[in-house]
C-alpha cells in the first residue's frame, strides 16, 4: 500500500468505524462497482460514497444471483410473508448479493478536495464507506461534480441521478432551499443551451 493511502486510511477508519458498507469489485477511472456486505443494504441513489481517497456518487444498484447463469426461482407460494421466504431458506442471503455503481466525482488530494477525476482508479477490494454529513457538506460546497454527472454515460437518466444527489445533499444543509437554488443556478449555467433537461432536473428537486 502507498504511504499516503495508509495514513489517510487509518484516520478515516478511526473517525468512521461503522459505516463500511461494501467492497470495490470492479474499477475504472470514471466509475467503480462495489458489492455490499449485506444483502439489500445498498446506499441510496445519489448518495456520496468514498473508497480510499476517491469520492463517488451512487448512480445505480442491482441485486442478483451470485452465479449469473442461475436465476433465482419463486419460493413464496406457501409462505405467509416475504420475510418468511428468507427465514425458511437462509442460504438465499449467501446466494444473492447487492451491487451498486458509483460515478467517480472527485478525490482527496492531500489537504485539497478535488472535484474532478483522480489520476488513478479505485482499488479492487477497497472498502467503500457512506460519507458522513460533514463530509457531504464539505464536498457539496462546490458544484464541480454536476458537470461530471451531466456528461457521464449513466445507467440511469442524468436528470434522475442529479436530482437524487442534490436532494440527498440538501437534507444535511442548514438551509436546504438556498442550497437547491444555488445548485439550480449552477445547472442553469451548465445547461444554458438545453432548457428541457434543466426543467426536468428542477422539477425533480422538490
Amino acid at each position: 500500500m502507498r504511504e499516503g493511502f495508509n495514513h489517510k486510511g487509518v484516520r478515516f477508519i478511526n473517525s468512521q468505524p461503522h459505516n463500511k458498507i461494501a467492497e470495490v469489485i470492479e474499477a475504472s477511472t470514471a466509475r467503480f462497482d462495489a458489492q455490499c456486505y449485506e444483502l439489500y443494504e445498498l446506499p441510496p441513489l445519489g448518495s456520496l460514497v468514498k473508497t480510499g481517497d476517491i469520492y463517488g456518487i451512487v448512480s445505480g444498484a442491482k441485486t442478483e444471483s451470485l452465479e449469473s447463469n442461475r436465476k433465482p426461482i419463486a419460493r413464496g407460494k406457501d409462505e405467509a410473508s416475504e420475510e418468511a421466504v428468507y427465514e425458511s431458506s437462509p442460504q438465499l442471503l449467501k446466494l444473492l448479493h447487492s451491487e451498486f455503481t458509483a460515478e467517480v466525482v472527485g478525490y482527496q488530494d492531500g489537504e485539497n478536495l478535488r472535484r474532478y477525476l483522480p489520476p488513478q482508479p479505485a482499488r479492487i477490494h477497497g472498502f467503500v464507506y457512506l460519507c458522513q454529513p460533514d463530509e457531504v457538506k464539505e464536498f457539496s460546497k462546490s458544484f464541480g461534480f454536476l458537470d461530471i454527472l451531466l456528461n457521464a454515460a449513466l445507467p440511469v437518466p442524468a436528470a434522475e441521478l442529479i436530482a437524487a444527489a442534490l436532494r440527498q445533499m440538501s437534507r444535511i444543509h442548514d438551509d436546504p432551499h438556498a442550497f437547491l437554488v444555488a445548485a439550480g443556478k449552477e445547472l442553469a449555467s451548465l445547461l444554458s443551451s438545453d432548457f428541457l433537461t434543466l426543467k426536468n432536473i428542477l422539477g425533480r428537486l422538490r
Binding site: 432551499h177 437547491l180 439550480g184 443556478k185 445547472l187 442553469a188 444554458s192 432548457f195 428537486l205
Partner: protein, 533 residues
C-alpha cells in the same frame, strides 16, 4: 448593501457597454438615466443607463415557458437562464494612478475589459464627478433616484450662452429661477431678465398652489425690478425701482426688421425703414407716422423711391407702436443707462412687461435694450482690454420665447443672434428659455454651452436640442422618458457628463431659507473649526 449590478459582457466605444445583471438585481429597479460605475482593470468608467432589456440563454424558454407559479423554479432561472441586461453609455473615466486622479474625470476614449464589475454609482462617485457644493458650485437638484446633491459650476455656466428647453408646464420657469438664484449667489455674473410673464421679479405662479416668491423678496439688495407697465405693477403690489419708457427716437430700422413677421410687413416695407431713417434722422418713426397729407406723401415717396404700398404697410405696422403706452416720442430718462448703472453695481435687473405680453412689445423692447446694452459692453470691454483696466461685470441676458429672436430668418439680424454667436467675447451671454427649440437657428443652438431640457415630445425639438451631442440616440431615450414635471436633463459645457435630475424644491419656506443661506457659507463656523486644527 452592495450596489453591484452585474458584469460587462460586450462593449464598443461607439455603441456602448452591455451589462448582464446579477441574479439578485431586479431588472425593474434599473431605470434609464441612472448612473453606474464600471471598475475597469486600470481605470474607472462612469456611464449612464440608456437601455434595459431581458435576455434568455435558450430560445426554447420563450416557446415553452417554465412554470413560473413555482417560486423555486423562477428563483433558479432568474439571473441564469433568464436575465436582465442594461446598456450603459460610458461618459467619463478616471485613471487609477495618482496623476490621473488629480486630473479628474476625462472623456471616454476606451472601453472596459470583459467581465468588469458594474456598480450603481454611489453618492461619493457623483460628488467626485460633479464636485461638492462650494463657493462656485450651486446645488440645482438631485440626480434621478439619488440623494446626492447635483452641483453645477455656475462660474463656468455663466461663461457661455445656455438654453433651457421643455414643453409648456414642465417646470422651465422654476428651473430658471433656481439657476438665476445660483448665478446671483455663486458667480460674478449679473443678470438682465426680460420677464415676459412677470414671473421672476416679485412673485411667480405655481400650478400646485399659492404663488411663489420671485427674486426680489429673497434678495432685496441684489435685485431691481424695472417695469414697462407701472399701473399693473402697482396693482400687483410690486415695488418697482424704475419705470421704463421708450422713445420713438430710440427705435432703429434693425428693430423693425426682426418684427417683420409679427407686424406682417413685406420685405420692401422693411427696406423702406432704412431709407426713412436716412431721410428723417432719429425721429423717423414719428415723422413717418405724421406724414398724412397726400402732397407730403407724394413728395416723400419721390424723394425716397419707396413704393406707396410699402409705405402704407409700414405705417400700418408702426401704428401698432402707438398702442403701446410705454412708447413715447421722447423717453424722459434713459432706460439703458439706468439698467447699466444697476448692472455695474452688481444689481440684477428684472424687466417686467406687465400687461404688454404680446410678442411685438416683447421682441421690440428686448431687442432694442439688449442691442444698446451690448454696444456699451462691447465698447467698455474693448476699452478695458486696451487700457488693461477691469472689464465690466459679465452679463447674462435671459430671454423667453427665444425662437422669436433666434429663428433662422431673423437670428442674423437680432442682437441675440450676435451674442449667441460671438459668445462671451464681450462678457455678455444669453440664457435662452424656449418651448420650441426646433424653431431656433441650428447655428445658434450649436454655440450654446450648457443645455438643460425638461420633457420634450416633438421629434424635431428633441433632435434640435440634442444635435451634435455624443451618444445622441441614447440621450434621446432618456429625454423622452423624463417625467412631465420637475425632471430635466442637463448636458454640455458646465457639467462633466449629461445627467438627468430633479430640480431642487422651490416654493416652501424652508426652500427660501436654503436658497438665501446658500450664498453665505457658515463662515464663522468654519473659522472656529480652523482654530481648533
Amino acid at each position: 448593501m452592495s450596489d453591484r449590478l452585474g458584469i460587462v459582457t460586450a462593449a464598443s466605444l461607439e455603441k456602448g457597454v452591455d451589462v448582464r445583471l446579477d441574479s439578485p438585481v431586479s431588472v425593474e429597479d434599473m431605470v434609464v438615466g441612472r448612473y453606474v460605475t464600471i471598475e475597469g482593470q486600470k481605470r474607472r468608467f462612469f456611464g449612464m443607463i440608456t437601455e434595459v432589456s431581458l435576455g434568455v440563454t435558450d430560445e426554447r424558454l420563450k416557446i415553452s415557458p417554465p412554470d413560473v407559479a413555482d417560486p423555486f423554479i423562477s428563483e433558479v432561472l432568474t439571473g441564469t437562464s433568464t436575465f436582465g441586461q442594461i446598456h450603459v453609455t460610458p461618459m467619463l473615466t478616471i485613471g487609477g494612478d495618482a496623476e490621473s486622479i488629480l486630473e479628474g474625470p476625462q472623456p471616454v476614449k476606451t472601453i472596459p475589459a470583459h467581465f468588469c464589475t458594474v456598480n450603481l454609482a454611489s453618492e461619493r462617485d457623483m460628488e467626485l464627478v460633479f464636485g461638492p457644493e462650494d463657493p462656485q458650485r450651486f446645488n440645482i437638484g438631485n440626480p434621478l433616484d439619488m440623494e446626492t446633491k447635483l452641483c453645477l459650476n455656475l462660474e463656468e455656466f455663466a461663461k457661455r450662452s445656455n438654453g433651457i428647453f421643455g414643453k409648456s408646464g414642465t417646470g422651465k420657469t422654476f428651473l430658471t429661477r433656481i439657476l438665476l438664484i445660483g448665478m446671483l449667489q455663486k458667480s460674478r455674473a449679473v443678470n438682465l431678465i426680460f420677464d415676459m410673464h412677470n414671473e421672476y421679479g416679485w412673485q411667480g405662479t405655481s400650478e400646485a398652489g399659492p404663488p411663489v416668491k420671485g427674486l426680489k423678496p429673497l434678495f432685496q439688495s441684489k435685485v431691481a425690478i424695472f417695469t414697462l407697465d407701472e399701473e399693473n405693477s402697482r396693482r400687483r403690489g410690486v415695488s418697482t425701482d424704475f419705470v421704463v419708457k421708450i422713445g420713438y427716437d430710440e427705435i432703429e430700422p434693425e428693430d423693425i426688421a426682426i418684427l417683420r413677421q409679427t407686424l406682417n410687413l413685406t420685405d420692401l416695407a422693411v427696406e423702406a425703414t432704412y431709407q426713412l431713417r436716412r431721410r428723417f434722422g432719429k425721429s423717423w418713426i414719428q415723422n413717418t407716422l405724421e406724414t398724412e397729407d397726400s402732397e407730403e406723401i407724394k413728395k416723400l415717396l419721390e424723394e425716397t423711391k419707396i413704393h406707396e404700398s410699402s409705405l402704407q404697410t409700414l405705417k400700418r405696422g408702426l401704428r401698432t407702436f402707438q398702442r403701446l403706452p410705454f412708447i413715447e416720442p421722447h423717453a424722459p430718462v434713459d432706460a439703458v443707462k439706468s439698467i447699466l448703472d444697476h448692472l455695474d453695481r452688481g444689481v440684477n435687473v428684472v424687466l417686467e412687461f406687465g400687461r404688454y405680453r404680446d410678442i411685438t412689445a416683447y421682441v421690440l423692447v428686448a431687442n432694442m435694450l439688449a442691442r444698446r446694452i451690448y454696444a456699451q459692453y462691447q465698447a467698455r470691454t474693448e476699452k478695458a482690454m486696451a487700457e488693461g483696466t477691469a472689464a465690466p461685470n459679465p452679463l447674462v441676458i435671459t430671454i423667453e420665447e427665444a425662437h422669436k429672436f433666434l429663428n433662422p430668418e431673423v437670428s442674423s439680424q437680432t442682437i441675440f443672434g450676435t451674442i449667441a454667436r460671438e459668445m462671451r467675447k464681450y462678457n455678455v451671454s444669453l440664457l435662452v428659455i424656449d418651448q420650441r427649440p426646433s424653431g431656433i437657428d441650428s447655428e445658434v443652438m450649436s454655440q450654446m454651452g450648457t443645455k438643460i431640457t425638461c420633457l420634450l415630445d416633438n421629434e424635431r425639438d428633441i433632435d434640435s436640442v440634442l444635435a451634435g451631442v455624443s451618444g445622441k440616440s441614447e440621450l434621446k431615450s432618456v429625454l423622452a422618458r423624463l417625467a412631465p414635471k420637475q425632471q430635466a436633463l442637463i448636458f454640455g459645457h458646465a457639467v462633466p457628463m449629461p445627467v438627468a435630475f430633479q430640480p431642487r424644491e422651490y416654493g416652501s419656506a424652508q426652500s427660501y431659507k436654503d436658497f438665501t443661506s446658500a450664498g453665505q457659507p457658515e463662515k464663522t463656523e468654519k473659522d472656529i473649526e480652523e482654530l481648533w486644527e
